[in-house]
Subunit: 665 residues, 2 copies
Amino acid sequence: MSLTRLVFGRPLANQEQRERKIGAFEGVPAMGLDGLGSSSYGPEAALTVLIPAGAAGLAAIGWIMAPILFLLLILYISYRQTIRAYPSNGGAYTVSKENLGTNASLLAAAALMIDYVLNVAVGISAGVGALTSAVPLLHPYTLELCLAILALVTIVNLRGTLDAGRLFALPTYLFVASFLLLMMIGIYKTLSAGGHPAAVVAPPGLPAATEAVTLWLLLRSFAAGCTAMTGVEAVSNGVSAFREPGVKYGHRTLVVICGVLGTLLAGIAYLAHAYGIGAMDQTQDGYQSVLSQLTAAIVGRGVFYFVAIGSVLAVLCLSANTSFVDFPRLCRLVAQDSFLPRAFAFVGRRLVFSVGILYLAAAAGLLLVAFGGITDRLIPLFAIGAFLTFTLSQAGMVSHWRHVIASGTSGRERQKAHGSLVINAVGAVTTGTALAIIVIAKFIEGAWITIVVIPCVILLLRAIRGYYDELAVRLHNDRPLQLRRSKPPIVLVATEGWNRLTDKALGFALGLSPDVVAVHMTKEGEAEGDEEERSLREKWATDVEAPARALGLRPPRLVTLQAPYRRIHVPLLQFVEQTQVEHPSRTIAVLIPEVMKHRWWQHLLHTHRARRLRYALLRYGGSGLIVMNAPWHLEEPKIEEALVPEEVFLAAAGDKQPEPRKEAR
Amino acid sequence: MSLTRLVFGRPLANQEQRERKIGAFEGVPAMGLDGLGSSSYGPEAALTVLIPAGAAGLAAIGWIMAPILFLLLILYISYRQTIRAYPSNGGAYTVSKENLGTNASLLAAAALMIDYVLNVAVGISAGVGALTSAVPLLHPYTLELCLAILALVTIVNLRGTLDAGRLFALPTYLFVASFLLLMMIGIYKTLSAGGHPAAVVAPPGLPAATEAVTLWLLLRSFAAGCTAMTGVEAVSNGVSAFREPGVKYGHRTLVVICGVLGTLLAGIAYLAHAYGIGAMDQTQDGYQSVLSQLTAAIVGRGVFYFVAIGSVLAVLCLSANTSFVDFPRLCRLVAQDSFLPRAFAFVGRRLVFSVGILYLAAAAGLLLVAFGGITDRLIPLFAIGAFLTFTLSQAGMVSHWRHVIASGTSGRERQKAHGSLVINAVGAVTTGTALAIIVIAKFIEGAWITIVVIPCVILLLRAIRGYYDELAVRLHNDRPLQLRRSKPPIVLVATEGWNRLTDKALGFALGLSPDVVAVHMTKEGEAEGDEEERSLREKWATDVEAPARALGLRPPRLVTLQAPYRRIHVPLLQFVEQTQVEHPSRTIAVLIPEVMKHRWWQHLLHTHRARRLRYALLRYGGSGLIVMNAPWHLEEPKIEEALVPEEVFLAAAGDKQPEPRKEAR
C-alpha cells in the first residue's frame, strides 16, 4: 500500500458519490464547529468591551445578548426557508445570483471567500492560543502547532467530508453534552439559591468602573458579540454535501447548531450575570477565559472542568473545518460560472473539490506564517463578511418570495410566500442594521481592510470571467466542418544521426506524405559537427536514398541546420517558417523522435532535447504547425502501470462485461 | 536589457570561441589562485604540526620545506613536459586514459572531481574564516559571506574564463607583488642583520617544547605542508582554455605560478626561522596567522601590512576559481567518454560548460551549508586527491615516453624521450611516496573518507557509461531504411466539444487518413456529462457527418469515453490499446488540440489537460503510438519572440546573404 493511499484513502469512483454524502450526525461536526465554537468567544468578546464599565457593564449583558438571540432566531427561520427553497444549494452566492444579479452574487462570493480563509487562520490560532495559555510549555511551538492542526484538517477534508464529519464527531458531541449539562447544573444552582449562587471556585472580582454605560459602549459590545453568530450560514452553503433528502438533513443539522448555540449563549449570559463573572484582560498575567471562570464557579476544578475545557479547545482548534467543507463547494459554484479557474470545479480523488481545499490550506497557512501563529489583529476583519452574506442572502430571499407571489398559482401558496417574505425582510433589515453597526464600530480597528479587499476580489473574479468569455468567443465555431481535399502535409523529421529512432520516424513520415525532409541538427552544445555530418550523409545515400529509389519513392531530403548560438530550436523554427513561406497552401508537421524515460535517474542522463524542441515549436511555431512525437521505449510500458488498482479491477471486469463506452455508429 | 543579459552578458556565437581564449595574463588569476593561495596555508600547516616541539620544531622547518620545494620542482618540470606532449589537454584524466587505461583514468577523474569540489568549499570557507577573524563584526554572517562569494565566483565563471581571469587579475597580481616585495625586504634585513633581524612588531614567543622532534613528527609536518602544492596541476587540466599556441601560454602560466609559489614557500620558511615565528593555536584568542606575524615583523602594521594581508584574504576567497575553470573542462572530457551525463559537454551561453559550473556551485554550496560555512573538518580529505592525480599523471607520462622510445625514429628523439622518462619516473616515485605519507599521516583524521568515496564515484561513473552503452546498442541500426507501403494511420482526435480546435484537428486528421475517430471525454472532474454528450452528438450529425458524406468521405466516428475515477488518460489509453489489438498492422496516432498559453497567468486558468494527456500517452502508450499536437493560439506568436537579439540580427542578415544551411540535394 502506497503512502498516498494510507494518508488519503483509496480513490473513489463516480458511482460511489451517493454513499459519500452525509447525514445530520456528521453534518453537525462537519459544518457546525465554527458556529458552536462561536459560543466560546462571542459572549467573551461582548464582555471584553464592557470591562471599563465594571459591574454596571456586566449588568448590561442581557441588553446585548437579547438582540443577538433575536437575530439568531431570525437567521434560523430564514435559513430554514432558504434551504427549502434551494434544496440543491442555498448558499448566499446562489441566492444572490438567482435573485439579485451577478454583482450581488460576486459580492457574496468575495465576502464569503475572505471570511472562510480568515476563519481558518483565526480559528486555529485562537484554539492554539487557548491551548498554549493552558499548557505554557507548548508556547514556543505556537506556529508549529497551528500548522500541524491545519495539516490535519486539510488531510481529513481531502479524504472527504464524510471522514471529517465522523472523525470530528467525538469532540463536537463531547462539547455539546458537557456544556448543556453545565448550563443545567448552573441554572439549577442559581434558581435554588434564589438568583445568587455561591461559586465553587470564586471568580476574580470585577474591576472598578472607569466609564459609564453609554449607548456607544453597548453598540460596540453588540458588534463584538455578533461574532457569536458566524458559522450559522454554513449549512446553507453546504447543502449539496447531504444525502437525499438534502432539505431534511440540512434542517436537522441547522436546528442542532442553532439550538445548541442559542442555549449556550443565553445560558452563558444568564450565569455570568448570576455568578458575577466578567471578561479579563488577555494581556495580563493570570488571564482566564469567561468559560473557564464559569465552569470553575459552577462545578469546581475537577475532572469535569478539564473534560469541558478540553472539549472547548478541541472545538476551537477544529472550527476551521466548517471553512474546509464550504469553501471548496462555494469555489466550485463560482468556477462553474467561470469566475474562478476551472480546476476549482474538478472532483478529486475522494469526490471532494481538492483544489479548493488545497487553496484554502495554502492561503490560511500563509496568513498563519505571516502572523507567526497569532492572528488577533485579523479578528476585527472577521464578522463583516458573515453579516454581509447574511444580509445579501436575506435580501435575495425577499426578492425570491416576491417572484413566487407574482407567479404563484394557488392562494394558499401565495399566502405562505407572504409569510416567508416577512420573515426574510425582517432578517434582511436586522442583519443589515447589525452589519452597519459592526462596520462603524470596528472600522478603525481593521474593518476598513475588508472593505478595501472585497472590491479587489470582485475585480479579480470579473477579470477571470472576462478571459474565459474571450476564450469562448474565440473558440466558438458555428459553421460545419470545413473539408477540402488538401495535399498531405510536408513532414520534417528531426534527426540526431542514423539510428532506430530515425528509421522508425522516417518510415512513419513516408507513410503520411511523399514530402519528407530529414532535418539534422549538429549535436547540441557542440561548436563543430562537420565530421559527424559527413558520415551521416554517406549513410544517408546508401541506407535511405537507395532503398527509397528502389521502391520508386521520392527519397527524403537531408537538411543540416547550424545553431550559431547553440539553441537548436532557433534554426528549426526558421526553417519551418521558410518552408511555410515557400508552400503557403501546405500544412507543415514536425516529427520528433524521443527516447522515453521510465525512471527518475534517466531524466538526469538524457538531455530532453525532444521535449524542449516540442515546447519551442508549439509555443512559437504558430497555429499552422503540427508537432508529432514518436516515442521510443527501452522497455515497452504496460498500460497497467498507468492505472490505480481500482482501475485495473475495472479493466479486468471490462473484458467480460459489455463495453464501458458508447459509440455513435 | 534583461537582467540575464546584465548578469551573464550577451550570448556568444560559436565563431567567437577563438576570441574567448585566454593568455598567460588571464591564465595566472584564472588557474593560479589555488596554487598561489596554498603558500599562505601550506607552511602554516607544517608549522602547526611542529608547535609541540617548540623552538626545535621551528628549526626543523628547513628539513620539511626542502623536500616540498624539490617536489614542486619535479612537478613543474614534468607538467611542462605533459603540456607539451598533450597540447590539446594534458590533464591527469587524458594522460591516464591514453597510457594507463580506463580504470586509471576514472581513478584520476574521481580524485580530481572530489578535490575540486572540496577546494571550492574549503577555499571559500578558509578565506571567509580569515576575514571574520580580522573583522570579528562579520562573524555572525560567516555562511552568508561564504555563499555570496560562491555566487560571485559562479556568476563570473558563467560569464566565461576570460572574464574570470580579467576580473581576478587585480587581487592576484597585488598579492604576488606585495609578497615578493615583502620577501625581498625581509631577506635584505635578515642578511644585513647577520641572520638575526630585529622585528618591527615582535612576534609572540614560541611555546615551550612538550615533545621531541621525531621522524613521525617530521613526516606528519611534511604531509601537512604538502597542501602547499595543491593547485599546481591546474594548468595541465585547463590547457584547452588557452589561445593558440596553447603550449606556449600554458608554459608561461605554469612558470609564473610555480616560480612565485616556490619563492614564497622558500622565503616564508627562511624568514619564519630567522624571525623566530611559529604557528599559533587557532582555537586560542589572539591567534595570528604565520603570514600576518611575518608581515608585521618585517614591515610593521602600516598601510603595506593591510594591503598585503588584504590581498591574502582576496586570494584565499577566490582560490575556488581554479576549480571553476578546471572542473567543467574535466567533466566535459569525462562526459564525452559517456561516463557523465551528456549535458556536462554542452557549451553554454558564454562558451563555457555551464552545467559543470552549476553542478560545482551546487555541490560546494551544499557542503558549505551542511558545515555552516566552517569546513575545517574537510581539510584532511583534501591533499589526497591532488597527490593521487600527480602520481597517476606522472606514471602515465612514464608509459607515454616508453611508447615514444619504442616507436621513435630518430636517435635524437629517443634520447630526448629517455631524459623526459627519467624526470617523470622521479616525479612518479616522489609524488607516490608523498601520497603514501599523506595517507598514513592523515588516515584517522579523515583521509579514509576520501579512500571510501573515490571507489563509489568510480562505480557511479561506470554505471553511467553502462547505461549509455546499453542505449547505444539498443538504438544502433545497421540495416537500411525499411520501407513498406503501409496503410495510413488510424487517427484518434481528442475532443472537448465542437469548437474551432476540433474543427481544425478533424480537418488535419481527415487529410492524413480516412480512418478518423473523434474521442470525446466527459469534462474532467465532472461526474456526469450526459447532457453535454447529447448536444455534441446532435451537432456532430449536422456539422461533421453531413458535410463529410456530401464530399463522399467516410464520416469520422464519435466515441465517448467515461473515466469512472476522473483520470481521463486511463480510458483513452485503454481505447488505444483496444484499437491496436483490433488493427495490429496499423499505426495509431492520437491528435490532441491544445490552447497555447503565452502568459504566466494563463497557466493558472487552464487545466493542462492536453499536456497531461500527451505525457500519459507518450509514457504509457508504447512505441507503436504516435502523439500529435495541434497548437491553437489566441494571438499568433512571432518567431522573433523565440530569438535573442543576436539571432534576430543573424536572421535579418540571412535574408540577403546565401542560405545559412547546407542541403544534400
